[in-house]
Symmetry: C2
Subunit: 189 residues, 2 copies
DNA sequence: TAAATTACCTAGGCGTCCTAGGCAAATGTA
DNA sequence: TACATTTGCCTAGGACGCCTAGGTAATTTA
């Protein structure tokens, strides 16, 4: 009985790959076991249950996404930073659709607070510092950017932009222009 | 053997209610059968399979959402229309979280084209007529609005706004102000 | 009232999730 | 090297969801 060398980390990584290949919703304990050539019961010494596995994949994706965004942001400010950040986000979603879907998993508040999700909002705030918004405007702008980026990627992935000749690429660029203009001229309350 | 009087429509409606109560992902053929006091096999004369059931719930939700948005839009223009439309959207998501989740289901292109999703983008375009944008700016603006509304509701529902004292309500109002300002001063390419 | 239809049933196969308990491979210790 | 401990993967098996085939009884139609 040769041992395959399973552990939590390898299972999480393989789960993330599986998600990108077949979709996050099709990541199951059984499918993952099959991929390692072991019985599904064998995975339960490494992950608590199916939910635990999915949560770990989600946390991995959030980390990767935050790392990528941080790298994109380094040394940039203003519109440059905004664009780099937004493209990092969208690029990750395109390259890793399954992981991106995983990152949308509803985490319980405690897990969320300890996750890389925190870094995401911090980075958004860092970008906004270049636009000199006072509170609560900055918070509102953080929410606007988060919503728009996430919403755009979600609609794009579900094929919502395909019945018009205008490419998703071109709209994206113009929307970033528009958001930059909006942040520079944020209306007074 | 008393008959309950199942049919496709009743199953869809009950499925939508179930979704609002326990979450769209927990809507199963078995759970729905249980709710009617029949065996799960009995549902298969009315819906083709589990996917078919979910698609029907999604289409129902899209219709309801479009109806509500259309009612909100009636007789309004400009910022008034923008706000009414956005609030109809967000209000529906709050009142019917399960149905709203259903409306996000990935439909195959053919089904999507025949669905009320088409009315949604038509209504967004109707709102934008008040802002006099030329193409392709109007298309870009349609995508911006769709993304932002959807993204905001998604982040709000997943608890993304809870670690700041600023209420989701207040940010929402200011974001609508900002979008209105942006549409009135859409930057030139 | 007989025939046709149909609403719901039972039986049963398959897949996924998960627990309990066992054996053998790897690792630590004398 | 020999034994003890740990642990990685196993088998067995239960619960539940999805779905098909074929039957029976309630309803509708002629």
């Amino acid at each position: 009985m040769a041992r395959v060398g399973l552990n939590t980390e390898r299972l999480t990584a393989a789960g993330a790959e599986l998600a990108d290949e077949v979709g996050f919703d099709k990541v199951t304990v059984s499918a993952l076991a099959r991929r390692f050539g072991v019985k599904d019961a064998s995975l339960y010494s490494h992950v608590k249950n199916s939910q635990d596995l999915k949560t770990r994949i989600a946390l991995l994706a959030l980390e990767e996404l935050a790392d990528r965004a941080a790298a994109a942001l380094a040394g940039r400010a203003g519109k440059d930073a905004l664009t780099a950040f937004a493209n990092a986000y969208r690029g990750y979603a395109h390259e890793h659709p399954g992981r991106y879907a995983a990152a949308q998993l509803d985490l319980d508040p405690e897990t969320a607070r300890a996750s890389a999700a925190v870094r995401h909002s911090q980075m958004t705030r860092a970008i906004l510092r270049g636009y000199h918004l006072a509170e609560p405007d900055e918070t509102d702008a953080v929410r606007l950017l988060g919503s728009t980026f996430h919403g755009y990627v979600a609609l794009e992935r579900s094929g919502g932009f395909q019945h018009t000749p205008r490419t998703a690429e071109d709209s994206w660029a113009r929307i970033l222009d528009a958001l930059d203009a909006l942040l520079r001229a944020w209306p007074a309350a």
